[in-house]
Subunit: 216 residues, 4 copies
DNA sequence: TATGAATGAGTTTTCATTCAT
DNA sequence: TATGAATGAAAACTCATTCAT
């Protein structure tokens, strides 16, 4: 009986927690990061402001948990993309993961926005250090999959790298990210004359060609 | 007489305007974008807060003008880099302009920061549309130089493009930009294990190799 | 059977009550009065916040009971000091009680702090009037011992009072208290150049000399 | 013209500043220190909350200035009391200053309350260090007058001190203060059965007698 | 044209208390 | 009796913008 009650409570608590994170994600989707207030989050979650603080010590901690959630989703996508093409060439795997990143950025805009904003604000000072570490580790983990594909390509002789596979993976990530960020603004989209997706693919392909030891 | 006075006045007005922009740049350099207040700008320009509003309708407009200024500097750097290597290969010109961009990002941090933050906030709604157009045009102009080098390389047969030279220039810009943004946070610098400059060069070279029709 | 159960229940209830008071005292010791929250008290007592309210109607009532406890301890100390020196001169007894007060203030800081803060806040309005009376009575009881020694000294001709023994006892208490309160702040300690203990003793001795009918 | 305007402005600014301090003093008089909010101060001064912050960086700084004002008044009273009885005995001077302190505590309750509360809160951390020094210095200055009278009394052979004149002055201040603080609460007033004034005088006289080398 | 005082909505955070279970 | 989730009224402070002079 009591056990059942406790379980239900824990379940409800977890649901409430999730509801707050969902509300924050929605708030982030409609407003920008800096215009999103605890007030709005509480309102969207249909609870009082004070309640939010029962679940998250402060704004930064809430956002860090949201970010962690996003990173988890991305991580999973990358892993799936990798494993789905286990028997294909590394290049195919690389392309699949790249595509997964694009999809993630499009389908989970708030998460993507949060990853970008991670540097801003006083995250490091205001969140528990282990949470900070988790965010960091999860970021690294994502890149590990990319690194692996690039390394395999190099070992097979498909790629001829100008730096370590890890650094190259970083450059790849940076290039893809750069294309998304550049076209985040509609005006630059208009200026370049491509959709985010199109520029992303162009960056991706040019970069992959740059990895090759010969023209395919 | 009156004409002279009017001229002096106009000159003084322009100087005051410039002083405000300078003050804003300094403020941006010392604090972050969101910490920079109109208060601080006025103080640094040694005028009153109200006066700032005589020269700029609101904060966003002020920042847009500052951005315009930064774009002018960048534009000039790119042009010089291009023209200095007029007699070299397009690839050399491309590299020179890329290097100019890196230098700009390092030596004019506030301007660079502003360009990056351009999408955030409510710029578009708060500044006059012609100012917005100007920003757009000047951004375009910068890319024109890159486009030119790429087009020449393609015409010479050095590069084999996967898209128009203009779109390729956009991808190039995006990749370089991406490397700078990714490593803006020290923690990601640590994670990748490269300096901003190193990743920048790696991105640049990989991309250039990706443009080539053969391995150099 | 039922009686036994009822007794056990009453005993447990009393223990719980005491646990809360203990927790409050600890909380008061580590934080300041205004920083001490019901949250912290409940946590230290390892019960829920709601339960605290089953035992004490509100924060002020809880603190009043804690105060009562502290007064009890002080009372006991004074009595012991008095009785230990039953066969000595009244002056010795007075000194012994004074010393007991100093010791109390040093060893039971939370209680002392509470006595001092008694006037602040909205105690009177928020606690039951009989509780208030109890606090008052117990405060009085402490002073009774001091009063007794002073009266005896006067009766013996050692002291020549300027007012009733009761009023004089009040003045004595006030002087001792004043020395402790004045040097509660380290900066005033520095300003005066004495430790709390030293000023306490100086106040005590000067006052006692002031009670004397002649210079000893 | 401009000079006149500037003067008027400075005058008005000073008046507004004073109005805020007055409002704070009133707020302090009606509520307790901890219940006095910036909101209330602003309302009493009939200005907006933001305006208060134009004149005082934060709450503590405002209170420190108020305290400084109070200390100034007290200082002046002590000095006047001293000088008025320049040709009388040191004991008379001491009594006059003591009386001045009593009067001050009665007529300027908020100031007196503030002096007492100086230790509480985070004054030291939140106010500029020079302001803190000023408060300290002014506190010291007050005691200097008391010290002088006591020293003179000792030099004349009227007083026989048990410690340095400075330390004795501290003990005197502590005793007087203690009587005021003890009876700050009506219940303790009732318990002792004396008015603040009566206990104050009793403390004063007992202490002075304690200073004497013989019974007057 | 220039000033700078004033505004007030907005932001995060705290905490004593309540109440359904 | 006990829980602990939820509340909501404060509280301090910020800052872009306005406006009388």
């Amino acid at each position: 009986m009591t056990v059942v009650t406790a379980q239900r409570r824990a379940r409800e608590k977890e649901m409430r927690r999730q509801a707050i994170l969902d509300a924050a994600r929605q708030a982030l989707l409609s407003n920008s990061l800096r215009r999103m207030s605890m007030e709005e989050i509480a309102a969207r979650a249909e609870i009082s402001k004070g309640t939010v603080y029962l679940y998250f010590a402060n704004k930064e901690t809430l956002l860090a948990h949201l970010l962690l959630e996003g990173l988890g989703i991305l991580l999973h996508s990358l892993k799936r993309a990798y494993e789905k093409h286990k028997d294909d060439t590394p290049e195919v795997r690389l392309r699949a993961m790249s595509q997964a990143y694009l999809t993630f950025s499009q389908h989970h805009e708030p998460y993507f926005q949060l990853m970008t904003a991670f540097d801003k604000g006083q995250f490091q000072e205001r969140i528990p250090s282990d949470l900070y570490q988790q965010v960091l580790n999860r970021s690294k983990e994502g890149l590990v999959w990319v690194d692996r594909a690039i390394r395999e390509g190099a070992e097979r002789g498909d790629f001829r790298l100008m730096a370590s596979s890890w650094h190259t993976a970083g450059a790849f990530w940076a290039a893809l990210n750069g294309s998304l960020l550049l076209l985040a603004h509609p005006l630059r989209r208009e200026m370049i004359g491509l959709s985010q997706e199109q520029l992303f693919l162009l960056s991706q392909e040019t970069f992959i060609r740059g990895l090759h030891s010969h023209i395919p």
